[in-house]
């Protein structure tokens, strides 16, 4: 659990650096600060359970156990990336750990998660489906339609709202009339649970219960993890949009950092040695370095690859 | 002598015209028939040729001015003997009558554009009504007569529809669409029109009725397979006409002095008789040396500038036309030229020429004077950049110092490759040639 959180943090820090020196084309939406809710939720699932996430995608596959090489290579636009260079930062998805992708249209993954759960149920599999989405996405029509259908058919889904307080630059309080996103669950007849997203163990507990419900055929749960992202919405936003203060960010970093909190908890209460944790930090650093080396030494895709994978049975219809 | 050039009347209803453009400036040399100015009248635009060769002494009416018909618009200093076709200094408002010397057998006066249009559309200029000054045939007259779908719309071409298939067929077969008559709607050229088109034998239907083809079974003709020479002539002449942009200049040369000189030379050397054509060859060579910009050959990569004047002479043989070359004619005496020409012509007729003797050269001379032809235009022999077409020397009335006189006039039409030689240069060449012809002693100096 610690390892995975550390992986996310180190990977994201490194990704941000590499993006700044121009090796990552396009944008980069990083998850530093959200490691607790990501890992807590992912580890409550089996490897064969489904997962769909959003544009802030990097943490999700790492949280669910994906290898870093393919993820880093994808960020650096190499053909050895998990998406063969076709997806990039917003779609960092390793289907071997999640099966459903990371979709960057806000809210679009919600009904898809429900559908995967339906598919599992129809095939008699006891898999569940985890859907990561943000506070902003909870205002989309697909939130309503997807959760309603899941609730109606009692589908084994865990809808996990990563409420980091802001939709790009807009505080959630100004766009939602409810205090907590989870309060909306009642409107669909399903349980809604609020949890401290920075407390990885708490998240793990809550999601595990939701998973149990789901596997038992009791239907979906809406979990809201209160969390925080340290960096801006996206890495190259340019100017300071002024929607939060540096103090606020500093405050969260100082007092609500999920890794620091977990570190403290397990060394204090569970007898884990500091040294062991530092050892993990070191190993993770090497892992991330290796992943970066792998990415940097991988070739770029051939231009002709642009026309493959549009269809399964033919190339794109380029005249 | 000074000639007043007046605004001509094109068409009965024209009362005035606006000069839209002068193509020449004061002091420029003019060649008879060369486009001198453009006039707009009654919504049509017409190019007007210079009525005489000479020098544009003064532009009396500037561009953008509108004046009534017959207003003096320019003063031209005529060269030597003025052409009898020049606009008379009359006050009448009528269209000036065509000059008396227009002979039946000769090609009628036509602008170079008209000649080209006639050539391209297979129109016999003899059948075209001229609407220009002095009955001169303009391009629009040719189009009106040819009926190839181009409306006589005051100098503006009306585009003929061509279906894409027909265009492609034309490209494939190397056929000039300007020559094809369309049978589709609105005169559109369709593929079948192109595929069934045959060169040269198509005369414009309304100008000359085509001779009615006789069915193959009625034996009014016999098919004679082409000789190699005929094939080559056909190929070279077609290639010349299709690829070389010809333009034409005409000069009327008074040859009395030349004839007198010839008589005296032949009296001095009775066994080495010199002909008029020998003078012509020498004059051409001398003129080319005087105007080196005209002594050139066009190639795609570069312009070849010759340092000598190798003049080809057209010789008619039983098999066809061949053009043996008198090399370095500029440095040869008339008698040497005469001897070589006679020898080359003789061997040409026997088929005894080596390729070196008929390949190359920078200019040709073709002389049909001995057949009584007064004036004609010839086709450039590639790779030459020009050809002088020489007519017969005929006694004609000329105007000298305001009085009528008689002179022997030989009309020469120069055809030039516009890729290599521009109008002014050609004009200069012709002018120099004419000077050499009219003052034969200058050939000695």
């Amino acid at each position: 659990m610690y390892r995975r959180m550390r992986r996310i943090r180190t990977f994201e820090d490194r990704a941000e650096e590499v993006h700044r020196n121009g090796e990552i084309p396009g944008t980069c939406h990083t998850s530093q600060g959200q490691e607790g809710e990501i890992v807590g939720a992912c580890m409550a699932l089996r490897l064969d359970d489904y997962m769909v996430g959003n544009h802030r995608s990097h943490g999700h596959p790492i949280g669910k156990g994906a290898k870093l090489d393919g993820l880093m290579a994808e960020l650096l636009a190499r053909k050895t990336g998990v998406c063969s260079g076709k997806g990039g930062s917003m779609h960092l998805a390793d289907f071997s750990v999640g099966r459903l992708g990371e979709t960057s249209i806000v809210g679009s993954g919600i009904p898809v998660a429900a559908g995967a759960a339906l598919g599992a149920k129809m095939q008699g599999l006891d898999r569940v489906s985890l859907c990561f989405f943000g506070d902003g996405a909870s205002n989309e029509g697909t939130f309503h339609e997807g959760i309603n259908m899941a609730a109606n058919w009692k589908l084994p889904v865990i809808f996990l709202c990563e409420n980091n307080g802001y939709a790009v630059s807009t505080p959630i309080g100004t766009t939602a009339a409810v205090e907590n996103i989870a309060d909306r669950a009642a409107g669909y007849g399903i349980p809604g649970v609020v949890v401290d997203g920075q407390d990885v163990l708490a998240v793990y507990e809550v999601v595990s219960e939701a998973v149990r419900r789901a596997r038992a055929g009791e239907g979906p749960t809406l979990v809201e993890a209160k969390t925080y992202r340290y960096l801006d919405h996206a890495a190259n936003m340019g100017r300071d949009l002024g929607y939060r203060t540096d103090d606020e960010v500093a405050q969260w970093r100082a007092t609500r950092d999920p890794i620091a909190l977990f570190d403290k908890r397990i060394t204090t209460d569970m007898g884990i040695k500091e040294a062991d944790l530092r050892q993990i930090d070191d190993e993770v650093l090497k892992e991330v370095d290796a992943a970066l080396d792998f990415a940097r030494s991988s070739p770029f895709p051939d231009a002709r690859e642009a026309f493959s994978d549009v269809y399964g049975d033919r190339l794109a219809a380029v005249a | 002598m000074l000639i007043e050039f007046r605004l001509p009347q094109f068409g009965m209803g024209m009362s005035d015209g606006t000069i839209t453009k002068w193509f020449k400036a004061e002091g420029d040399l003019l060649v008879e028939g060369e486009t001198l100015l453009e006039i707009e009248a009654a919504k049509t635009t017409v190019e007007v040729p210079a009525p005489v060769g000479g020098r544009l002494k003064q532009i009396v009416v500037a561009a953008d001015m509108n004046v009534p018909v017959q207003t003096v618009i320019a003063l031209i200093e005529g060269e030597g003997a003025a052409n009898s076709d020049a606009t008379p200094l009359a006050e009448e408002a009528d269209v000036p009558t065509p000059a008396a010397e227009v002979a039946e057998a000769a090609k009628p006066k036509a602008t170079p554009l008209a000649r080209r249009a006639a050539e391209a559309n297979g129109v016999d200029l003899g059948s075209v009504q001229g609407s220009g000054p002095g009955g001169r045939i303009c391009r629009d007259d040719v189009h009106a007569a040819s009926g190839t779908g181009q409306a006589p719309d005051g100098g503006k071409r009306v585009s003929v529809q061509v279906e894409p298939r027909a265009r492609r067929a034309a490209r494939e077969l190397g056929i000039d669409l300007d020559r094809v008559t369309g049978s589709g709607p609105n005169g559109r050229i369709v593929e079948a029109d192109v595929r069934s088109w045959k060169p040269a034998s198509t005369a414009a239907p309304s100008a000359i009725p085509a001779p009615s083809p006789v069915a193959a079974s009625g034996a009014t003709f016999k098919e004679v397979p082409h000789s190699k020479m005929r094939q080559i002539i056909a190929q070279r002449m077609t290639e010349s006409k299709q690829t070389v942009p010809h333009f034409y200049l005409t000069a009327h040369c008074e040859i009395d002095a030349l004839l007198a000189a010839r008589a005296r030379i032949n009296a001095a050397f009775p066994d080495e008789k010199v002909s008029v054509n020998d003078f012509v060859i020498k004059a051409v060579a001398s003129a080319l040396m005087k105007v080196p910009d005209a002594n050139v050959t066009w190639t795609d990569a570069a312009m070849q500038r010759h340092s000598v004047a190798d003049i080809a002479m057209a010789v008619a043989t039983e098999g066809g036309l061949i053009t043996p070359i008198v090399r370095g004619a500029e440095g040869k005496t008339l008698r040497t030229i005469a001897a070589e020409a006679k020898d080359l012509a003789g061997r040409a007729r026997n088929g005894g020429l080596s390729p070196r003797e008929y390949k190359g050269g920078s200019a040709s001379v073709s002389n049909l004077g001995m057949f009584g032809v007064e004036e004609f235009s010839a086709i450039i022999n590639p790779p030459h950049s020009c050809i002088f077409a020489v007519g017969a020397g005929l006694e004609k009335p000329v105007v000298r110092d305001g009085a009528l006189a008689v002179a022997t006039v030989m009309t020469v039409t120069l055809a030039v490759d516009h890729r290599a030689v521009d109008g002014a240069v050609a004009a200069l060449l012709l002018s120099r040639f004419k000077s050499f012809i009219e003052e034969p002693l200058s050939l000695l100096a």
Binding site: S108, P111, G119, M122, E145, N148 | P164
Partner: protein, 322 residues
């Protein structure tokens, strides 16, 4: 052989594929009540799990279908009417069309999205859409527009077995049309056009119900000695460009009949194709016959004039001959 209607062909195709593959199921609004007869017998045979009513939540139900498809099912989604695709537009484009590509081929979305096109019936602007042309613009989608019961069955079966999203546009004008349907199973491949009538003078390209208009026009024109070739693409994505060009090159004249609105219609696409690549074989201009670029009004005297008709096709052919 048996004679079946267009609707029966839809029903049979769905039935046969559901029997063949347990992953196939249908979902949509009111499918259980079988409003048009396209689901007859399915519930009884396959049970409520595989014949599901959905809430009126087009985006949601499309997303659910996509999710199910990504994990091994083969859903057929019935939208009732084509304009009801619009609320699901983002799911169709962002999720169905793009998923295989976005993730470098890690997964695919084998969904079939069916809707009918009803127009000319006084249903006004929001309920008279013929939107297949809009979807042609997006890579990643297959689009079938069958012109007869025979085509409907063969294309729909292929659609259900296809591993990528397929949109099926079913013209209501054809619902009661009949074809001879073979007993044996048959599939019609995508991207293979069918020459419905051979001719020499002009090619008439026609989609879906427009094929019948084209054939009727061809009959009329034959009386005047004009020989029309009618080509039915059957699928507008993939489009059988080769067959279209071959026909256009043969005849040298091209008319495209398409019930879409004219702007950016399928007709526009094929005319551009012909003008670009068969230009030198043309004898005349290309011509589109489409629905006029205005909203569909309610009142019949306003509505009837807007759609393609046999007369308009004949006029278009004459235009290319002029």
């Amino acid at each position: 052989m048996a004679t079946k209607t267009f609707l029966e062909a839809i029903r049979d195709a769905q039935y046969e594929e559901m029997a063949r593959d347990p992953a196939v199921f249908v979902m949509g609004e009111d499918v259980e009540s079988n409003m048009f007869g396209t689901f007859s017998g399915l519930m009884e045979e396959f049970g409520p799990d595989r014949v599901r009513n959905t809430p009126i939540a087009e985006a949601g139900m499309t997303g659910v279908a996509i999710g199910a498809a990504m994990v091994g099912m083969r859903p057929i989604v019935d939208y009732t009417m084509a304009p009801f695709l619009y609320p699901a537009f983002d799911q169709i484009i962002s999720m169905a069309a793009k998923t295989r590509y976005l993730y470098g081929g890690q997964g695919g979305v084998p969904v079939v999205l069916r809707s009918n096109m009803i127009y000319g019936n006084g249903n006004s602007a929001q309920h008279s859409d013929r939107p297949y042309s809009m979807f042609m613009n997006m890579p990643g989608l297959n689009i079938i527009v069958p012109s007869s019961a025979y085509e409907m069955k063969g294309l729909l079966k292929t659609a259900i077995r296809n591993n990528d999203p397929v949109l099926s546009f079913e013209d209501v004008a054809l619902w009661s049309s009949k074809s001879e349907i073979p007993e044996e199973e048959y599939l019609i491949p995508f991207g293979v056009a069918d020459i419905k009538r051979e001719g020499e003078d002009v090619t008439i390209f026609a989609i879906g119900a427009m094929v019948n208009l084209a054939l009727a026009a061809a009959e009329e024109l034959a009386k005047e000695g004009v020989s029309c070739e009618v080509i039915d693409p059957r699928t507008v994505a993939p489009l059988d460009r080769a067959a279209i060009l071959k026909s256009a090159r043969k005849t040298g004249r091209f008319v495209a009949v398409d019930c879409s609105f004219e702007a950016c219609s399928a007709a526009s696409e094929v005319c551009a194709l012909v003008a670009e690549q068969a230009f030198w074989d043309l004898r005349g201009p290309v011509k589109r016959v489409t629905t006029m670029n205005t909203h569909i009004p309610f009142s019949p005297p306003m509505e009837k004039q807007l759609y393609p008709s046999v007369e308009k096709v004949i006029d278009a052919v004459r235009y290319t001959l002029a």
